[in-house]
């Protein structure tokens, strides 16, 4: 008998934990506000010396919109599970990972539901932040209706890729018991190669070429470039195809790793 559909409640765990802790919400609001103000000031400042010329194919407004959207997008995956002793590494450390294998809900599905809940909750934050920034004139609306639809689809695929990347890092815990170093490298690589620190268009050609072979640029750089019009609608289809390819590849890989991880939990699960 498979798990009943009402297991959706597992998706609420992290958001509910955060909603029950008002200081955490206040902290997230302050952090997001400061990041947006600083990023906006930074990019406006950088462009003030260009005399209104576009750089790397981006106008000042496009660059600010890209950078602010990138900050908002980080909220999609940055929910605090650590204080709730609910990261995979903590479950491995405390031995509570065994309970994941003792329920009529597979660890894969449980993990996926939790991630879905986290990302939907993060999306709600990002949407509110987007609306505020749009109303304040910090970011521009999408260049066209078609760009908006392509952006939404590309963002969905990008978040899907990001989910698999995070899952792979968590799966690493089943072999190493520690993933903090890998997690730090991943976060840096993700931020650098996806365009969170700066739009990839400002990097040298060799760097852009290199990043095109990695999944990170498909998580954020593609949807944000579509949004601001740096990737024209005519060129969107191959990018979406590439994102879908990454989703399929990473899905296969993580599925394979799950089956092996189930055999590892025994010796390290305490």
């Amino acid at each position: 008998m498979s798990a009943v559909p009402s297991t959706w409640r597992t998706a609420r765990i992290t958001p509910l934990g955060e909603l029950l802790a008002p200081p955490r919400i206040a902290g997230a609001v302050v952090q997001l506000t400061i990041q947006i103000v600083l990023v906006t000031a930074l990019w406006r400042g950088l462009y003030s010396g260009t005399g209104g010329q576009s750089t790397a194919g981006l106008t000042r407004e496009q660059a600010v919109s890209y950078a602010v959207l990138a900050v908002l997008a980080t909220r999609l995956r940055e929910l605090d599970r650590y204080s709730g002793r609910d990261t995979v590494i903590q479950h491995m450390h405390f031995g509570t990972i065994v309970y994941w294998f003792l329920r009529p809900l597979s660890p894969q599905r449980y993990y996926a539901l939790r991630a879905l809940g986290d990302q939907l909750y993060g999306l709600a934050w990002a949407v509110v932040g987007y609306a505020v920034c749009l109303a304040a004139g910090v970011i521009q609306p999408p260049v066209s209706g078609g760009a908006a639809a392509a952006f939404a689809l590309s963002l969905l695929l990008g978040q899907w890729i990001l989910y698999y990347i995070m899952l792979l890092i968590d799966q690493l815990c089943f072999w190493t018991l520690r993933n903090s170093a890998a997690m730090l490298i991943l976060i840096f690589a993700q931020n650098l190669l996806s365009g969170v620190y700066a739009p990839l268009w400002y990097f040298p050609d060799w760097f852009v070429t290199l990043s095109s072979f990695l999944p990170f640029q498909a998580t954020l750089n593609v949807p944000l470039s579509v949004y601001v019009g740096r990737i024209p609608l005519a060129d969107v289809a191959p990018q979406l195809g590439l994102q879908a390819g990454w989703v399929a590849l990473l899905a296969l890989l993580t599925r394979l790793v799950w089956s092996r991880a189930a055999r590892r939990v025994v010796s390290q699960g305490g």
Binding site: T10, V98, P104
Partner: protein, 342 residues
């Protein structure tokens, strides 16, 4: 107290546990000694095989509470992990409520509940009751049964005074009581408890023991309990399986274990004449003598019972004071562990 058997639940499967010739070996890499050895191990790791459980056979009848005992590292937890389906046995057979756990993990999960000592399955940031609701949905427990069971658990464990508190703020005793409720919410016929009362105060321990007794006697659940608390064993278990170094040492009643490992006693006598000559009696040895104080103990396989020994000492010597000491269960188990290990 709730009266009647199986008032709110309906345990579906028959909760028997069968284990035959169960063996589990682990293969892992180990480092060679020294810096050079460490470097060599990186390239060519040295693999070692460790047998955690070897050829263990026992069974637990439906509605029985069995204590699985043994010193640390004896293989108790490994056995429980194989019974819960977390571990795949290297060889042997396991059946829990008619299901082979490692082959049908999800089906097995519906038949079992588990509490692993101080490891909680509750979500740290949420109130305990929210965790119960999540588990209700995961197990697909109908709302009316869920409510009835919560009410029953509340009556037995007094959960409602703290179940709206976030788990991180609960005391150990409160948290383990919530964990017990969480493990039984789906009404499993078989329950695995790995040191459930470790670290608890005596009042909560007693409450938990009462709860477990109720679950076995009134609700007909099969319970496999591991613990180092011998009071718990004597209060709850009639039958005990003793394992050491991964092997089954004994499977029997507490009385049988006492007879095999714990038939020990001391008779402490104070002689009326401090200078009187004292020697051993048939089956009775002089363990210690300090002036008029003499300690007698059993000698050999034909040693008398403590009461026979007392009678003989009084018959043979003029004593001004005499006292008996019988081994308690803790002494018995110590003797059993040492005897099994030697």
């Amino acid at each position: 107290m709730i009266a009647g058997k199986q008032t709110s639940g309906d345990i579906q499967a028959s909760g028997d546990i069968r284990v035959r010739a169960l063996t589990k070996t682990f293969r892992s890499s180990t480092r060679r000694p020294g810096a050079l050895g460490t470097l060599r191990s990186l390239v060519n790791p040295l693999m070692v095989t460790k047998t955690a459980v070897e050829d263990v056979t026992f069974s637990v009848a439906p509605g029985e509470l069995l204590a699985l005992l043994g010193p640390n590292g004896a293989g108790k937890s490994t056995t429980i992990k194989m019974l819960t389906g977390i571990l795949v046995p290297t060889s042997g057979e396991v059946s829990v409520a008619g299901v082979v756990p490692h082959r049908e993990r999800e089906r097995n999960a519906r038949n079992i509940g588990a509490v692993f000592g101080q490891r909680t399955q509750l979500w740290w940031d949420l109130p305990a009751r929210e965790s119960f609701a999540i588990l209700r949905d995961i197990y697909g427990v109908p709302e009316d049964k869920y409510r009835a069971r919560l009410e029953e658990f509340d009556e037995l464990l007094e959960l409602s005074t703290f179940w709206d508190t976030r788990v991180r703020h609960l005391s150990l005793g409160q948290r383990v009581r919530c964990d017990l409720a969480a493990a039984l919410l789906h009404d499993p016929p078989v329950v695995f408890l790995d040191e459930p009362t470790i670290g608890m105060d005596v009042v909560v321990k007693e409450q938990v023991r009462g709860f477990l007794k109720y679950q076995v006697e009134e609700r007909g659940r099969t319970v496999l309990l591991t613990t180092h608390d011998m009071t718990e064993v004597s209060r709850l278990a009639e039958r005990v399986v003793l394992i050491n170094d991964g092997r089954l040492v004994m499977d029997g009643t507490l009385e049988e274990i006492r007879r095999k490992f714990g038939d020990t006693w001391l008779v402490r006598a104070t002689l009326a004449d401090p200078e009187a000559a004292v020697s051993g009696l048939p089956g009775i040895a002089v363990v210690q003598r300090e002036g008029p104080r003499v300690v007698f103990g059993p000698d050999g396989p034909d040693a008398p019972t403590v009461h026979q020994a007392l009678k003989r000492v009084i018959e043979c010597y003029e004593v001004s004071d005499i006292a008996l000491e019988e081994a308690d269960l803790e002494d018995v188990m110590r003797a059993a562990y040492q005897g099994a290990g030697s």
